[in-house]
Symmetry: C2
Subunit: 386 residues, 2 copies
């Protein structure tokens, strides 16, 4: 009987560490980044395996990509053993929609005997990395993941973060885990073959993070608009580096696995998610984020927080970068979906609604509700902005 | 170009904390354990939900179990909102074999709007808790899990641990995550209706943990053999408490998410897994663990580490508790599967083989290989033991 109200308590910390390498031509024989990385990982007594999984979109631009990976490992890497069969799986959002894709990764892990001390190397865009990351995180309760993001958006944002996901029950990112990678390899040579929309789309996250983290980075983007529009790769490398740096600083110093209510990196995202959905994902994530940033900046101005000159700078920068702020679907269905979008975002986060708005460029503030009539005005200003 | 070898590093800790409550008749109206727990969890500004998922085996013994849960919440709990529809799902190993079962939990989470700050309460045996835990850990990247284990084995071992899993590609526990619960409620009244095999089976983990952690607990079990065989519930409560305590101490002080090679709680398990499989799971986990413990104790003796008197105490205790050490399938297929079992265990753990053997009762030692001829002799001693 004396057991009736006995209790035990457990409390512990789990440590995570990962590195993000910035390089060019990761699989060129003279590039030693991967060789050195694996050299440091070597452990006596057992040879680890590496299963490589490639987004098939890459093969459109680099027909012999798999062969170059095989040559690299053959020539440069003795400390781990490459699984001969390099898996190729379709990328893009659709790779997150069906079990068959993540199951291909997990069945590769099963079939080739990839254990918890071996590696899966995922090479592809953000959605593809989400999907491979999910399969990798749940197989054997977590295989070591190496990410090689191939788009601006994945190199500066999701690819250096700690999440993975697939879509389920028709809901975006319904299944997923928090699972940091072991390392990320950002290879800028992949960015050269991106189409203009993907090149531009990734810049939205850099604008976002500059607005909530670092005014000097915002000014740097303003100064480099033309170079970015003209696809200067050196400038893009710098943008990716600084955006990744701020993103990682935020994760490290905050609540990495989001146990609390706030998700302060999601500035401009509550409406972006809805807009992507309304467009049936024909509007890309970064394009929708640009609209979301614009809307929340106008709202911050109309609430009396952000100066007029500053919200105008933000909108002009977005237009200067080539973003569209008045998509037809936005004009047609945007306004009636504002409140719905807000509620869906609250549900997705869980807990009470917590959003970021701007006091100044580089200085965010948390808010816990939005004034719907001010929001409607902000929307009108947005779609009529020239 | 100067970016070529730039790199960033991220390093952070994630903190976990959970409590295990020991009680009787958790849903009796006068039992305040759950009421007090939810009272402390209350957060201003939002009312959390609780989705309860019940192992249908419980309804065989308690026909009105769901109604008593509903009454309890109605009368006692104002700080959270119970989802009216209590889900009932088959328990046992089969609940981990098909997508349809974990999907029932996840679709409940989706349908009833359970967010990351709301709760899933899983009530059932170990396999059932593994399955619900998996669904809960991957939905919205992790819903808060409350476990109510209903068997000896789940109350003293898996239910107070940090893992979940389902079977996939025909492999046991192939998919899963490390995800500590928020709280565990060990209600001894569930143990009364267990059949003798399940009652006994759970005791094997207590013998195991005593052998590798605490000699005084081993002696306590020896002293209480008759009470345990005669199903004295007070003695069983004490056994469950001490086994859970040692298990949790181990997780907390070791490598909770098993990033390293060793898994020092797995004493006696390398062969137990194979034996379960060979018997097509007609031999229960604890019954197989008892055989595994016996085998490794004899091996430790034959290696010159464990004294003869000590290995004899261990085998006599297991027989005294009613465990069988010479199953027909063991005689028929055991010996030829020893080496295979060892290799499969290494693969499952990943990295190099790491096993525990015994120097003394309560004093384990790590070994990194086994001598096959000594192992064969140990097997012969085992199956001929009287």
């Amino acid at each position: 009987m004396e057991n009736r109200f006995k209790r035990l308590q457990s409390e512990f910390q789990v440590s995570y560490r990962y590195e993000v390498f910035f390089t060019k031509h990761l699989f060129a024989l003279e590039n030693l980044v991967l060789r050195n990385f694996f050299g440091l990982q070597e452990q006596k007594g057992s040879k680890k395996k590496v299963l490589v999984v490639v987004d098939d979109g890459i093969l459109l631009h680099q027909k012999h990509f798999r062969e170059s990976i095989q040559s690299y490992f053959e020539s440069n890497v003795t400390s781990v053993q490459l699984v001969k069969n390099i898996l190729t799986i379709p990328g893009g959002e659709n790779s997150k929609n069906k079990n068959e894709f993540w199951e291909l990764v997990s069945s590769g892990i099963s079939e080739y005997g990839i254990d918890r001390h071996s590696y899966v190397m995922a090479i592809g865009g953000g959605a593809f990395l989400d999907m491979v990351g999910f399969a990798t995180a749940v197989s054997h309760r977590g295989i070591r993941l190496l990410r090689v993001p191939t788009t601006v958006l994945s190199q500066n944002d999701s690819g250096v973060g700690v999440k993975n996901s697939i879509n389920y029950f028709g809901k975006k990112n319904f299944l997923g885990t928090f699972a940091p990678p072991i390392a990320v390899f950002n290879d800028s040579s992949f960015l050269i073959s991106l189409d203009d929309r993907d090149w531009r789309s990734g810049i939205a996250e850099a604008v976002k993070v500059s607005l909530i983290k670092e005014e000097s980075f915002f000014r740097w983007i303003e100064l480099n608009v033309n170079s970015l529009v003209n696809r200067n790769i050196d400038v893009m490398e710098q943008l990716v580096f600084d955006c990744a740096r701020l993103h990682m600083e935020h994760i490290r110093s905050g609540d990495p696995f989001e146990f609390g209510s706030s998700r302060p990196l999601d500035f401009g995202h509550w409406f972006a998610h809805k807009l992507e959905y309304l467009s049936n994902f024909s509007i890309r994530h970064g394009e929708a984020v640009a609209v979301g940033i614009a809307l929340d900046s106008i709202y911050s101005f109309l609430c009396g927080d952000l100066k007029e000159s500053e919200y105008l700078r933000i909108l002009r920068l977005l237009l200067g970068l080539g973003f569209t702020l008045n998509f037809p679907i936005l004009l047609e269905k945007g306004k009636e979906n504002l409140e719905i979008a807000l509620e869906e975002f609250r549900e997705h986060l869980g807990g009470k609604l917590t959003l970021l708005m701007l006091d100044e460029i580089g200085k965010p503030k948390e808010v816990y509700s939005m004034d719907i009539s001010i929001l409607m005005s902000a929307f009108d200003t947005l779609v009529n902005f020239r």
